[in-house]
């Protein structure tokens, strides 16, 4: 297949899948366009929802009605009441409080994974894009990591290094890195031959300034978009791992762990899984809507296509 066809296919597929590959350097986006895309009703709703969830996470101790890990054997598996707004789980723990505190864990995992993958991906992608000698080495390693199903890689890493918040974030981050590296590398390769980069080289700009001032800024817009998708995907992976019982230690009230504990009593009390599930789905949905809108706003050429 010709290079062109391949590149256009992957640009199309990746952009719609999870990644946004913009080979062209991003240009200044008219503010009007940005405001129109981000001002659409669904996007505003997503932003509002995200703000609410972020506030819930920040003010969890004020909003909660008790202690998320306090066990009360006399109040097991109760239905919703004025004392327990969403009922209690099999240990008599208050579901509402657990879900409120769970938002902290889920957002922390999402934030940790997206920031780490963006930073590491930016570093490796820039090196691969600029230093041709290291390019094929880095990209072959990335191909290898990419071929391993993300959740399996994450589960294996957590099992081997012991479950904790840190290991789970690291384990979820590693499978996300190759896509970021590919994205950054394609942007760097794209701007390498731009006249302004050649001019900067001709003027004798030192390498760090050349990379930081002239090349890396082009990656910011696509990285913001990619970061939001990693955020959403990391939250889903954490929940999936928690659900399988191979994620965060069970005493941490993450949404995945809450749902995992609800499995046994699901037929009796579906809410044990569904309440946390609704929170998770709404958060991920808002982030995805926001990510799509950001992509459209930051890359007008793509938004016409999608």
């Amino acid at each position: 297949m010709s290079e062109d066809v391949e590149r256009s296919i992957f640009a199309l597929v990746d952009s719609s899948l999870e990644t946004q590959v913009s080979v062209e350097p991003s240009r200044l986006v008219p503010l009007v366009h940005l405001r129109r895309t981000l001002g659409a009703p669904p996007v505003l709703m997503a932003l509002a929802l995200l703000a609410i969830i972020a506030l819930i996470a920040i003010f969890a101790p004020l909003l909660a009605t008790g202690n998320p890990i306090a066990i009360d054997p006399s109040a097991r598996l109760q239905h919703a009441s004025s004392a327990h707004w969403l009922g209690t789980d099999a240990f008599g723990r208050d579901m509402y409080t657990r879900i409120i505190y769970g938002s902290r864990i889920s957002l922390l995992v999402g934030l940790g994974a997206s920031l780490t993958s963006v930073v590491l991906g930016l570093l490796m992608g820039t090196i691969a894009g600029y230093f041709r000698l290291l390019d094929s080495l880095i990209m072959r390693i990335m191909d290898g990591v990419m071929a391993i199903p993300g959740i399996l890689l994450a589960i294996a890493l957590v099992t081997l290094s012991g479950a904790s918040l840190l290991t789970v974030v690291v384990a979820i981050t590693i499978p996300e890195i190759p896509r970021v590296v590919r994205l950054v590398r394609s942007v760097i390769l794209g701007v390498r031959n731009e006249p302004y980069v050649e001019a900067a080289i001709a003027l004798g700009t030192p390498l760090p300034a050349l990379l930081l001032r002239h090349m890396v800024p082009n990656t910011v817009a696509p990285l913001i978009v990619q970061g939001t998708f990693v955020f959403a995907s990391a939250m889903l992976t954490e929940a999936g791992m928690g659900f399988l019982g191979v994620g965060l230690p069970p005493e941490i009230p993450s949404w995945g762990n809450i749902m995992a504990e609800g499995r046994t009593y699901f037929q009796l009390m579906p809410g044990l899984i569904l309440y946390a599930g609704v929170f998770l789905a709404l958060t991920v949905l808002s982030i995805n809507v926001l990510g799509d809108a950001l992509r459209d706003a930051l890359d007008p050429t793509l938004s016409r296509k999608l």
Partner: protein, 313 residues
Amino acid sequence: MWTYIARRLAATVPVMGMVALVVFAILHLTPGDPAAIIAGDSATVAQLDQIRIHMGLDKPMYVQFFLWLVQLLHGDLGVSLISGVSVSGMIAGRVGPTLALSTTIIVFSVIVAVPLGVLAAWRQGTLVDRSVTAFSVLGFSVPVFVNGYLLILLFSVVLGWLPVQGYKPLSAGFWPFLQRLILPTLALSTAYIALIARITRTSVLEVMNEDYIRTARAKGLNECSVLIHHALRNASVPIITIIGLGIAQLISGVVVTESVFNLPGLGRLVVEAVLARDYPVIQGLILLFSFAYILINLLVDVLYTLVDPRIRY
């Protein structure tokens, strides 16, 4: 064509080697002594040393990697630490439900998603289009286990139409077999339908303004024929790509889905192996899934030539 396939097949060798290296590195470089994990908490130092020598852990790392690679090339994935059965034997015993579930998901998703995407592109901007687009964002966001339990709640607990969980092989009859695959298929398909419908819509939209579509309409072809033979045919390359990539992502979804619906497939085997810390099984399964991913990607590339004669190698 054949030389292309041979060349591509040869190109997968370094990637597979890299996967093997990454898997090896994960198991040997992460903190935690494999011998200590295998021996358990009560093992003495002498026992640990014995296990290390037995497993070859006392040899230098590159020797270990080489020996393991040679073993792999002989098709030997090792032996389970728990059951003592060969890993390839365990995989063979559990592959049925996974293959069945993957097949029904792919077939069902493609049958539903491609017409949906074409419909949305054809009626761009209408309510139909916006519903499909909204669904494609929603489908990505609802975790498969939430989906799965909602379906169990509705169809099994409330309506009582379908069994809650479990699996029957095809040899037990077609209906009992299919009956237990319906809910898992629906649960996991949502994400793939969302993905495939979205790409189908985008790629059909891309070609709808082409001259040959106008020509096809001008010569009096009916819309159906225009859409299927002219629009969809030309839009098929990205659609096939996404179906191929979807199969790769399917593996992660299958692991979770099998747990929700208690299907005794490879996904359950992964979780069982992880909970039991059965190293060789974890290792073997990761390798198997990764190699499957690489081969599926290769297959997709070869398929391009069949659907789009413009692509020549």
